[in-house]
Subunit: 788 residues, 2 copies
């Protein structure tokens, strides 16, 4: 259950496989392409946090020269899956060790040539990419192996690399380039060890490549190793990326491939120890959750708090390689419970980019921090006012993602709140989180308006998560999140004042918020958030939502004039209807489960589920979580599987207008974990209490996972009959648990608690006919390729 | 200079001529079609204020059966301009007498037949339409005259008339029908007098028609008269429209045609006495202003305060026959100064429809009165959320005319203010205007939001006059007008309290505003309105306007994919640019000339003029007035002529999307008078002072007109050298005048004041190159047809 593989090569799958077979380590992501591929096949080594703008095109992350580029020719015939006859082919990803492997047997006349390659993006050393490459021929013949660093990279809005140079330095190759906009130096150093190279071999250098030519012997395995280092001048302020790159490959070569791979896999083993989830009774779900976690973890910045996780991970330049609210709402919580150092980095990235958010607030005439919809290294918003093209008129479409999606600032404070609630890490407050929260509270106060007539604060003219309805008033999600942001900020400042009065004073001197606290309190207490309609229990997503046309998703789609037509924007088909892009009220109900009674949550799930088009990969997990929470894991399950398999099936939306949005989906990956932990296991905190209120899918015989709270590690096992919790022997404190309706328990370090499960009290009925409309989502739209 | 005529018949002009040759009396409008025309030629007798909705189509005014329908055949050949050979044809409108005349000579074999018809819509008796019809043949032959009431009427969204019946009642024909929606009875009664009918004539009835057949004698003139009355059950509550209709034609027939025509023309003569403007030195302008006034006056409801003037007058069913803000901003002021009883009716119409405005406010969650964008008889908004079709996708386009154009409520209060300032008529305050103002102030207070951060009131999410930019914040016009509405309401209540304390108390008991006065005062004092940018002096039309794309009108138009493509709406081409549909800031500067220094007004005129597409016929006069005000009558003149000739040239927009919007333009007609009086003559009031600050076009040798203030009548003559004012001998009080920079004067009844004009102090320079861009508007786009 740890291996993903494909046993055939299909040209049509090249792009999707580039996503499916990703490797990466948070510093860079290396697409799951084959060694003989180039830019046409979207080979990429995307550098996290290194951005460039070419002319007036969109800024996007830099794709580094490809240090693994390798082609083999036998008897003059190039052995590439793109051109040569393939006898067998297998591409494999070992999720546990995070190692990519391919083996292809080519026919070459009567001979067969096996090409085998293994690679990993070191989790132990984030600047290092290693490859082991082997060729075996079934007959003697001339073999040519051309390998090096391919500087002709794929770009969406490039080119970004200028003045690329190739310097041969003994058995090292140093490739240098400079980005056009900011002059960031990018250095790739390749060291190649080819111990089995016949002494008679010719070696010819040509630019970034060297070619080894020799007579291959029948059956002999020619193995070489490549150590590729990647540095930029951003990594070595004041120093030289060249030296760092050269030094790293030298050191790596000395350490040898297998040892490096061991160190890498050990790191991954630790990652898995913290985040793995074991599901018995459902192999598909078991594999899918692990695969999701693999995709998420390979993007996690463990090396730096200067970067975060872009919306399409490190799988390319889609969405400008930008960081969205996805990170805070669907990824940070996963790390807060499984690897808090990563969550800490993700939050501190927002502190590093606070000035950009301040600039954006000022740009629109507000105070505080208006965080970017698309954040890059400075926090300035990379999003333009025209983010989609109208396919029907071929005109750029004015969208309001940038200027109206104010909830991002609240989402960040919510992530801080969640991080702090789970980790109890006070230090983050002083290191930036308090400042971020203050500026976000300030922003919401300056954005809000007070309706004297109604004696309440309102947030007018916003875009909520449901982007099909732009410029709405009092979006339920946004208003509730803003209230939470104000409350959290006030709470943080109280905590800081209480524990660190000197730091509180320093913060107050610097930010000058003393006069604002009463205002924020007043706004928190008097901000309007939409309430359930008395008769139906439906919470209107925004003012006037319930007066819009009520049309079925399929009927709306039948009105489309182009299959990729954007449904939102100024005149989009969904804008005048109740059809949502994604969970909005439902997401809010997940985040604030105590706001409304179970019956209201149930009714809103039913109501909005029938009206959600799921045009965002963020949507499914919100429906899955709430369905589990309302006691309907049967309804949750298809949404969970859709979320957890999104990067396997490739069934996500690939185009908005004519904009390519393919790639990996770390938020959906994180959402899969959240669905299992927060949804199926019902894990939450209530003050000091850790609560478990499970609602497992009925065919799961057990669910096992670990999580951390306030520096303590816990193990959970849930079956249909009981809940079993144990506290790690290394923990330092007792923990208090509450088990759905089966009471509470204290659990000391090294102790376990086991409880029989009774009927859960929070299950509610959903009309059976509802289930009948779910055919499509009952099973993932595309079957998975294979399970090991 | 009082006659408009055409000397040829052109099929292509049928629709435009229907507008150009309009007759009417405020009760109904009769299109300027020929007697032999029917529905295909858009013959219509539109009843003011009688609306009907067919199925789910748009509500629109009822077109009554056509009581003038007449065709003549000679020797079996039908004599219609549509089919018979025309030797000569002349269609004439006598503006002074308001009489329509046509004379056509048909060839019929070797013979010639003259058909001559004259009609008027009685200004003396609003239910009466009269026609005199004459036929002369140049040879003997069989003549058939078919005349009657044509119930097969033209409708845009009909049919509206059900169960139409034709009852022959002696020499009268009574035609009855009932509207579908509300069951309003519509009765047309025709009485025909044919004194010269040969005794041998055969008379054959057939439905609504009778046919006279006889042998015509060479050269003999066969004349008959038709008296057609129109009543609806709305006119005779509790009574019978039949009896009223029958009785009126009987009485009319007894009075005889010429006497009725005399009474009618006498009324018009009085109208002209009050409103005429004499321009020496510019025949085109002289004719155009008279023609404009004719078109405006024929729509004026003198008979009732239950109706107003629709945006397309009484020329058809376009724009649902609805009353727009046009009336208050471009028509009521004309009547306030020339015929206050009409202005009074127009204002009281808004009181009659106040409940509809209250309902609309409640519908959107506000208090007070949110007046309709398209008001019909109840004041409920006839405008739908989808008012235009997108020609590129063939989809209905969501527009925000209805839900966001809040300035209408302020416009109405402004009209009350202006009416009261000029007439001093206290009675209107008690009869409804105070109540209207209170409800409008209440509405603005409930709509506004207070930005605590900026300590000011703002009006977010509105549509200003420039409808190409929907859902803007702090539209300069809207905010300023709202401030004015609050101020006016407070002032009105003070006046009422002061003069009529009992009525004030009654009003307060009924409306309960006592607790709100301080709030309104607070809002009036603290409502934000956009100020000139410090460096450029430009007043941003709304928040963020100056960040929009700055593109030339012609460049924007070059992007159009369809000639009638709507430039506004969700994704319209203008929405993301600075191109305006119509004067917005410039209109505001006209209304509040003392808000900003002359230099600011000049700069904003220049700036916005270059960016205005003039997609509304309301736009040109606002530019004309302000240009005159800033001392540039040369720039004003082409806009004045565009305004004043709009119904002659037919050069206005005929389609928005696929929506036909042709017809007459009473607001432009009124705007022409306003340009002359308020612009070129510089007429205004300052407290008790009447100010004149003329800026005549240089080629005008003199301008003469009359106006009324507070029941006193004045005569003004302006030349390039002097200003001459006289106070009517019948006036009861002295008046104070202020003449630009030549001091003040007191003028008693029967007295005159004459002042030499010096250089006017408020002229400002506008760059000469600016003039060069005006080629198109320097001369009206189509030359006028003829002047008598």
């Amino acid at each position: 259950m740890w291996t993903y593989s494909q046993n055939t090569f299909q040209k049509n799958d090249i792009v999707l496989n580039g996503n499916r077979f990703m490797t990466g380590n948070g510093y860079f992501g290396y697409r799951g392409t084959l060694e003989e591929f180039g830019k046409a096949e979207q080979t990429a080594c995307i550098l996290n946090g290194v951005y460039d703008q070419f002319e007036d095109r969109w800024r996007e992350p830099v794709n580094a020269p490809n240090g693994l580029s390798t082609t083999v020719s036998f008897c003059g015939q190039e052995l590439s899956v793109l051109s040569a006859p393939v006898i067998s082919h297998k591409q494999t990803l070992d999720l546990y060790a995070a190692v990519h492997h391919r083996k292809t047997t080519f026919a070459c006349g009567d001979a067969r040539v096996d090409v085998e390659a293994e690679r990993f993006a070191s989790q132990d050393e984030p600047h290092l990419l290693c490859m082991k490459y082997a060729v075996v021929c079934s007959a003697g013949g001339s073999l040519a192996i051309r390998t090096g660093v391919d500087g002709d990279v794929w770009d969406i809005n490039g080119p970004h690399l200028r003045g690329i140079t190739y310097e041969q330095n003994g058995d090292q190759l140093v490739v240098r380039a400079t980005t056009g906009e900011l002059g960031t130096e990018v250095v790739i150093c390749e060291k190649l060890d080819f111990p089995a190279l016949p002494p008679s071999a010719e070696i010819m250098w040509n630019g970034g490549f060297r070619e080894f030519r020799f007579q291959a012997e029948l059956g002999r395995k020619y193995v070489f190793f490549k150590y590729v280092s990647v540095f930029t001048s951003l990594d070595t302020p004041g120093g030289s990326p060249d030296q760092a790159a050269i030094s790293l490959v030298r050191k790596s070569s000395q350490a040898r491939y297998e040892k490096l791979k061991g160190a890498h896999s050990d790191r991954w083993s630790m990652i898995w120890q913290n985040c793995d989830m074991e599901i018995d009774g459902d192999n598909e779900a078991q594999f899918a959750i692990r695969y999701s976690l693999y995709q998420l973890q390979l993007t996690a910045p463990r090396h730096s708090n200067g970067v975060s996780i872009p919306a399409r991970g490190l799988s390319g330049q889609v969405y400008k390689g930008a960081v969205f609210w996805d990170t805070e709402m669907y990824m940070t919580p996963v790390f807060a419970l499984t690897d808090p150092r990563v969550a800490r980095n993700l939050i501190l990235y927002r502190h590093r980019t606070l000035d950009g958010a301040r600039r954006k607030a000022r740009e629109y005439g507000f105070r505080g921090a208006f965080y970017a919809w698309e954040s890059q290294e400075t926090g300035d918003d990379a999003c333009s006012d025209f983010n989609v093209n109208d396919l029907l008129t071929n005109r750029p479409l004015r969208t309001h993602f940038r200027d109206k999606q104010i909830h991002v600032s609240a989402d960040i404070v919510h992530a801080i709140r969640q991080y702090f609630e789970w980790t109890g890490d006070f230090s983050i407050l002083l290191e930036g989180a308090a400042e971020v929260a203050v500026e976000c509270a300030r922003f919401f106060y300056s954005y809000a308006c007070y309706k004297l007539d109604r004696e309440r604060y309102e947030l007018l003219d916003v875009v909520g998560p449901d982007e099909y309805h732009e410029r709405v008033h009092n979006n339920a999600y946004t208003n509730r999140m803003a209230k939470c942001a104000l409350e959290t900020t006030l709470k943080i400042l109280e905590l800081v004042l209480d524990r660190f009065p000197a730091e509180h004073q320093e913060l107050e001197v610097r930010l000058g918020f003393a006069g604002e606290l009463d205002r924020w309190r007043e706004m928190k207490d008097n901000i309007y958030h939409p309430q359930p309609e008395p008769e139906t229990g439906i919470i209107p997503q925004f003012d006037g939502y319930l007066s819009l046309e009520d049309v079925a998703v399929k009927d709306l789609k039948s009105r489309m004039l182009h299959p990729n037509e954007y449904l939102g924007g100024g005149s989009g088909l969904a804008t005048t209807t109740r059809i949502l892009k994604q969970a909005d009220v439902v997401l809010m109900l997940n985040l604030f489960p105590n706001d409304f009674p179970m019956e209201v949550k149930k009714r809103n799930w039913e109501y909005y589920e029938a009206r959600t088009e799921h045009g965002s990969s963020l949507s499914a997990c919100a429906y899955a979580m709430l369905a589990a929470h309302i006691g309907r894991p049967d309804l949750a399950y298809p949404y969970f599987m859709k979320t957890a398999t999104v990067d396997l099936t490739g069934a996500s939306r690939q185009f908005v207008g004519d904009l390519y949005i393919g790639g990996t989906h770390p938020a959906a990956n994180g959402g899969a974990w959240m669905t299992v932990a927060f949804g199926f296991a019902g894990l939450s905190v209530k003050g000091e209490m850790i609560c478990l209120s499970p609602n497992l899918p009925s065919h799961w015989s057990s669910l096992v996972f670990r999580f951390q709270r306030k520096g303590q590690s816990f193990f959970v096992r849930i079956t249909n009959d009981d809940i079993w919790v144990s506290s790690d022997i290394d923990n330092s404190q007792d923990a208090c648990f509450e088990f759905a309706d089966c009471g509470t328990a204290r659990c000391g370090p090294g102790q376990s608690v086991q409880r029989k499960r009774d009927e859960l009290p929070n299950a509610v009925d959903i009309a059976p006919e509802h289930l009948q409309t779910k055919e499509k989502s009952e099973s993932p739209e595309h079957s998975l390729h294979s399970f090991a």
